[in-house]
Amino acid sequence: MFVFILRRLSQTALVLLVTSLLVFAGLFVIGDPVEILISPEADQIERERARVALGLDKPGWMQYLLFVKNAASGDLGKSFVYGRPALDVIFERMPATLELATVAMFISIFVGIPLGLYAGLKPDSRIAKGIMAISIVGFSLPTFWVGLMLIMLFAVQLGWLPSTGRGPTVEFLGMQLSIVHWDGLKYALLPGINLALFKLSLIIRLTRAQVRENVLLDYMRFARAKGLRKSRVLGVHLLKNIMIPLVTVIGLELGSVIAFAIVTESIFAWPGMGKLVIDSIFQLDRPVVVAYLMITVLMFVFINLVIDILYSILDPRVRLTAAKN
């Protein structure tokens, strides 16, 4: 297990290096940050001053080498726009995004799996057909449209929930969180539902397919023949066996919910990282974009690691050392 983790980490370092190079080169080709950041009325002297102040007067390869050198000591550079360390700017927004991801994943899992189970066990019932129809809708409607409709219905027409923004935060386990009390949670419901809709549909369909496949297998028949209670057959035998593909998908989806909640965050003016990275790309704020993508890579690597470890717990046949090959 230890060797396995070590091997993973060394691969990660390589991935990080390649990512940084690609993003650096990409943004370099897109455009000149000074053109975007400077006041249009600035004259040539002021433009040159800004170029020097941001370190953009040096050749591109030298800027990259400087970046790698500083990154090796944990400094990913200062944001061009905010003038503060890029990591600080990102981490400041992270709790908001994690909150939103938590709400969305909570909804997807605790609504999705039961509905999927039901649809799998009673595939011919009307309710099951209804669930499947809704899941298709959830798949196919564009997020931004659903988001606006949710606002129009629940905030503008009915006035039940706040339309945008993040609620008041309270100190919780040393972090500023909004979803641990109702005043804050109600702000997270609409964006949470909006973000969850796609994942929810995915989990429903995946669960159903797994259930349909597994109920026909011998171990299920055997368990029933042994006279086990229905709840035990479903809760222990079936659920445990269908969990492996579900955990993989949920894990990866969690990653994408955290890293790419951009549309939902924009629509609901949710002050998270997705909103930040979109603004940063438009403003060519290279340090923030690079740092963000490096964090994203790290996060996915970490999630995959956790998934692999969970596998071995869920299915004793899986040995982590097998990943060597």
């Binding site: 455009g31 006041s39 009325e41 600035a42 726009v81 003038g83 908001a96 606002i151 006035g159």
Partner: protein, 527 residues
Amino acid sequence: MRVLKRTSRALIAALFAGSALFASAAELTIGLSAPITSLDPHYHNLTPNNALSLNVFEDLLSTDEFQNIKPGLAESWRNLDPLTYEFKLRKGVKWHDGSPFVAADVLASLKRVPNVPNSPASFAVFVRSIVEATAPDEHTVILKTAAPNPGLASDMTSVRIMPKAVAESATTEDFNSGKAMIGTGPFKFSEYKPGDRVVLVRNDQYWGAKPDWTRVQMRMVANNATRVAALLAGDLQMIENVPTSDVKRLMGDKNLAVAQVVSNRMIYLHMDSNRTQNSPFVRTADGKPMENANPLTDARVRRAMSMAINREAIVDRIMETVAVPAGQLLAEQFFGTSKNLKVDKYDPEGAKKLLAQAGYPNGFQLTLHSPNNRYINDEKIAQAIAQFLTRVGIVTKLETMPSNIFFTRASKLEFSTILAGWGASSGDTSSPLRSLLGTFDAKTGFGAANRGRFSNAELDVLIAEAAVEIDTEKRRAKLAQASEKAIEQMGLIPLHYEVSVWATKSNVTYVARADQYTLAQEAKLKK
């Protein structure tokens, strides 16, 4: 079941009561359209930052909604001689921490402006002309310039004044944390959540008219549709930059009020009037490269292009009447415009004749480049223009791109004709004349944004003369004359002036401002 119903009803009622409490009369929640990048008023010269800092800090001089200069922290100002300005400071003004405002604070603030580390767009241009700043007594400041600078008063509306101790030691980070947010303005700083909101509370010691609001939240809601929805839902009481497509609908809603004014931003076409051959996106009528001519260098061709464009139709259909057709660099009510300049009439036949006179009876081919996320409806406007030009024989293709790519390439002169916009923050024509139409020269600072490299010696002389003319009326006349010269030569083709729109709940009024600033103290509670 009945109990359940009753409790849920009670719960909902309680919720409503709660939200009603939040929206108490003395609180104002404003939806901003663009993120604030820093609270340091000397760090990043950007409209959202500048507007926000004016709630907390003040300048020596301020501007009214039409950008006319009026007293600010200085009660009066005058020229002792063409190189010397004297500012008499207001007495009895207190900083938010209670200490008195004196001349030394002004000197320290002026000194800090050019020395803010890592500034991506500094305010140094506004103090560059000053060679010496002195304070003969606690309430007088004398500024000396090397050359006469009639724009100094206007410059002093862009330099926020802070206490000496803050100016000498505070870092940009100290402002973002709130520690250094000590101004003289109508509101005190309370809270800043980056990317989310800034909260301000009333400064009860304010020397001027007391604001109507005890507490103001400035929330950043960049998405247009969401901002409007949040206003409709009552979560916001006021929003800026109402999308043009919603203006009519909001005006018809009796729970809302709409305020609008023509802004200082002109949308224009800039043509490559520099390269006499092989302009990158000009082709002959049959699609061959134009190796020994560039029609865009001919003022008659540029005029023909202007006549080919139906500005009324663009304003009417694309901008949904929330814009004003343009015939010069700024709308007529601004300083330095000319009464003689009229909007070019839509005249496709005349345009064809003029093209023939210039030697292009069969027209030519052109590619128009435009950003697609920078100005209101920019891509749609560019589409319309390409069609108008094609109708008179200039077969125009259109290529649009995000502004971060567009401006980099445009500044490298990679295009032949571009659509762009210009906001004159000083509220007079000197800014577009100097930056867009003056001959590109790093030494004079002229033409920094002259992406067509238009150059006219007579015009340069007029701009240079206006730049040192201290007498207001003579300066106004000079600038008007320069505007006439620029438009006569069609150094650029003005299309329209954008209109800035605010929407409020009907119990709030706002006086629309030409500088596009959203200022909480200008929002009033209707009694």
